[in-house]
Amino acid sequence: MTAPLLRSPLARGKDVVRLAGRALLTVALLAFLLIAWQVVTTRTTYPFFPPPWTVLQNMGTLLFSGPPSHLWLSDTARSDALPTLTRMVLGFLLGSTVGVVLGTVVGLFRTASELSTPVIEFLRSVPAAATLPLFIIVLGAGSDMRVLFIAFGVVWFVLINTANGVSSIHETQLMMGRSFRVAWWRQLIRIVLPAASPQMFAGLRVALSSSLIFAVVSEFQLASNGAGYQLVNAQARFQILDMWTWIFFLAFVGLILNLLLALVERWALSWHRAQRV
């Protein structure tokens, strides 16, 4: 076997150049598309597609026109944008935590897996959005209900991926821990969970995107605030520009949160990425 030594500085330099090149290309492509969009929409009179620049300007006044003491956040930002964000994050965290815990149990124990698989397969086949009416009837139309609804929607992605990751851990890794009489909780935290983390993160990525979807969907019904609520309201009142503004806002939220998770993953799985190079 040849020794895969540390990559030389030269190779890393080349990587930087290649990465910068790719980033430049992406930015150029996005800029081109945005400009094309802007040009086409300003030249037509079709009312349902406002120019992106107009949408961005509207977002500035709608969300970021508040006083400096409120970090420039407007009342709408504080009453609608932040609550959606909060519910989404709480729902994601709750669903992910439950998913990791249950997934680990299912992945570790054959009996748990045999007992739970039919139930999990059934529950995850139910389109989560279809359960919103039930959640409202049982739990009311409050914020807690929406958080639980989001958590229910995303738990499966994390649970199933974690269970797969845990159950496919190589036997030698587990035997190593046992042969050195490592405490069970230490085997869990230091061997099982890290070994399953690449698959766990795959689940978390899907869960994060889905938690935004479920947050918005949950605000389509019986809501009194939130981005989803403002979105359907704007549509009902034919405020096309506001409607687009909320769509843009949600797109930015999704983009930023995905980026944050990607950074966490990059840090947590650095060993995994480097190992595969």
């Binding site: 076997m1 020794a3 895969p4 190589h170 046992r178 009489r181 490592v182 060993w271």
Partner: protein
């Protein structure tokens, strides 16, 4: 751990295997892997377990380690019946890429089993440094296992076992996936460490040369179900040398004897 010395630990045996058999599965699909195994390993001995591929050598080693409970019979370490992994035992696996944790640095891999021992962090650090130096990896503390060659990774696994300060070291074909050069280097390293640390070693291999070159005693196992075919002392002088030891008539004779025993399954040259 229960403490049932059914026979008095009269001898100096560190490890005693008493009528051990193991059957995987049950009824029609039952597979008998180990059959009526009896042997002892004295304190400070280096014993090779050699047998054909698929003989159940790994099963035997797992039973010795307490990771697997035999269907019948018992293993005693220092007179105490082994019912779980006993204290004072360490293991080196064949698959170093799995037995070392890729998310930990070399240093942290070596320190990993020490958390369960009551050591000050200073003692722990010095144990880790000492054992890494002992295997010739004194400057690799902060590397990750996958940045090292196969031979170096197995050195890390050996360092981890040494830092654990075992009385008994069980090795499951540890050099089987290494190239010839690394393999002979590690064989000699192991012999040096064994003198330096005064540990008892049970070494499983399917390589006949290796089994004779390293050991004080070679236990030859038959093909599955594994039973003991021969228990051969190796009267070769120490320190061993990759070239001169392997040229010695005694080495050549023993190697031939072990090879014939494995091929015949013990039919011709019974003990």
């Amino acid at each position: 751990m229960t403490n049932v010395p059914t026979r008095a630990p009269a001898d100096t045996a560190l490890l005693r295997v008493d009528a051990v058999s193991h059957v995987y599965g049950a009824d029609a699909r039952a597979h008998r892997a180990v059959s009526d195994l009896d042997f002892t390993v004295g304190s400070g001995e280096f014993v090779s377990l050699v047998g054909p591929s698929g003989a159940g050598k790994t099963t035997v080693l797992r039973i010795l380690s307490g990771l697997l409970r035999p269907s019948s019979g018992a293993v005693y370490m220092q007179g105490q019946r082994v019912t779980g992994v006993p204290d004072g035992m360490a293991m080196v696996f064949q698959d170093y890429s799995r037995s070392l944790l890729p998310w930990l640095t070399v240093e942290k891999n070596v320190a990993f089993p020490l958390a369960g021992k009551k050591l000050s962090s200073k003692e722990r650090t010095s144990l880790v440094s000492e054992s890494l130096s002992a295997v010739g990896l004194g400057s690799a503390h902060q590397r990750f296992p996958w940045q090292l060659s196969g031979g170096m990774q197995q050195r890390v696994a050996i360092a981890r076992a040494l830092a654990y300060q075992p009385k008994l070291l069980l090795m499951d074909e540890p050099f089987a996936s290494l190239d010839a050069q690394s393999r002979s280097e590690l064989e000699d390293l192991l012999l040096r460490l064994r003198d330096q640390y005064d540990i008892t070693i049970v070494f499983v291999t399917h390589d006949i040369d290796e089994s004779v070159y390293l050991a004080d005693r070679v236990l030859v196992l038959s093909k599955s179900p594994a039973h003991l075919v021969a228990d051969l002392p190796v009267p070769l002088p120490k320190p061993r040398d990759q070239i001169s030891t392997k040229e010695a008539p005694e080495f050549v004779r023993l190697r031939g004897q072990v090879a014939r025993l494995i091929r015949s399954g013990g039919a011709e040259e019974s003990v």
